[in-house]
Assembly symmetry: D2
Homo-oligomer: 137 residues x 4
Amino acid sequence: MTVVDDRQTQMMRETVPFAGTLGVEVVGNRSEEVRARVEWRPERCTAGGVLHGGVIMSLADTTGAMCALQNLPDDASGTTTIESKTNFLRAVRDGFAEAVSRPLHAGRTVVVIETDVVDAAGRPVAKVLQTQAVLRG
Amino acid sequence: MTVVDDRQTQMMRETVPFAGTLGVEVVGNRSEEVRARVEWRPERCTAGGVLHGGVIMSLADTTGAMCALQNLPDDASGTTTIESKTNFLRAVRDGFAEAVSRPLHAGRTVVVIETDVVDAAGRPVAKVLQTQAVLRG
Amino acid sequence: MTVVDDRQTQMMRETVPFAGTLGVEVVGNRSEEVRARVEWRPERCTAGGVLHGGVIMSLADTTGAMCALQNLPDDASGTTTIESKTNFLRAVRDGFAEAVSRPLHAGRTVVVIETDVVDAAGRPVAKVLQTQAVLRG
Amino acid sequence: MTVVDDRQTQMMRETVPFAGTLGVEVVGNRSEEVRARVEWRPERCTAGGVLHGGVIMSLADTTGAMCALQNLPDDASGTTTIESKTNFLRAVRDGFAEAVSRPLHAGRTVVVIETDVVDAAGRPVAKVLQTQAVLRG
């Protein structure tokens, strides 16, 4: 059972204000794997009590960027998302959605991140492939 | 100059609670074109005062679903996003992001929606292609 | 009615051998719009006499690269496809598939190309969004 | 070391003529994993002796469809690709490209397939996520 890391969560929200607005909680933050979640709540839903697809994409974009930042070349100054594609596999109607981001490719100009989103029972919710540009200067 | 439609905004937020949480404002809502925006605000940003990519994807997912709902076959009961892909073209640092969703294909089993996101000056911010499944029963 | 440009076709096939293998024919080649087609033939089909999705993606990747090459910064040496996403809208069972590529964004590090593929009657067959990296040195 | 299955290759090419045109060779064909390859050859290249991105996408679309066909509900009559997204990770300059397709989600209306493409040394070449519609009647 994974648990939320309050210190990491606070640090991340100070850097990324929208993560606080959305309620992102960091579970783990290593270069090989970043893990964070958002609890199901009515105000995070689309019609019918289903967690909004935008919440899931926002969560994955946040963990993806956190992961990319830890997989940059030494001379890089930062990263920005170039593109992101999500396949939605299952609706989340309670519990939480947890995103796990891993580097698929860490190059000189781009970093490609793969993110699996699962529900509280560990079932697949979404799969995300995204490209982050390596910024310099 | 487009303006926000308060009645449409209220109706949409009653159906999609997360749209209220995010601050989505509806500008126009026709089957050929759905238009809505989110204002830039510090609490909607990632690092560096840039509107979070998740905000842009959430906005586009919301207008995409609104557009798909108006392009369903007669016997359909609803729609759900199967997949969504976003190319990010420009950062938003003030003003607002406005999404314009149009149907690219309205079939028996899926509806494909194309969404252009622009900034307050009308410059391209993102392009989204998404597939919505047609639900029945 | 568009027509094939034999000289442009020959030049392109000399540079990109697979375009010859696939039977790509160039119709127009300007920086704002590259247009090329592949004729329907049995040996280019998947099951059921439908033009293979790979043919359509290969055609669009070829026109996309041709378009990107004409929209590079002055100091660039070339381009390579980072990612490509295709939505398939209609099967091609005769005639040809024609791809029309246009630049959506031409930046310092990436060029984003939008490609519409239509059939011989001009009906939408596929929509492609792709990112090309700008190479240097 | 994987080897080509000549009988499976022949059967597949009879059903999908373009697979023969492209030179696809089947290595394994099970519902949990479909594996096939295309050898590097000059006539399959883009500029600079690099295997064309279209070859890689065509290969992955072929293995993806083969995998989807084995993961359909009992009442389905076939499958067709709705959308496909590829991230390119490394150029192939010799040897072959081998695609490995696995089902990520097998539902009533869609099957989602994940495909990893590697080179002859097993290094990542591309990652593909695609959605196949379940056809009936």
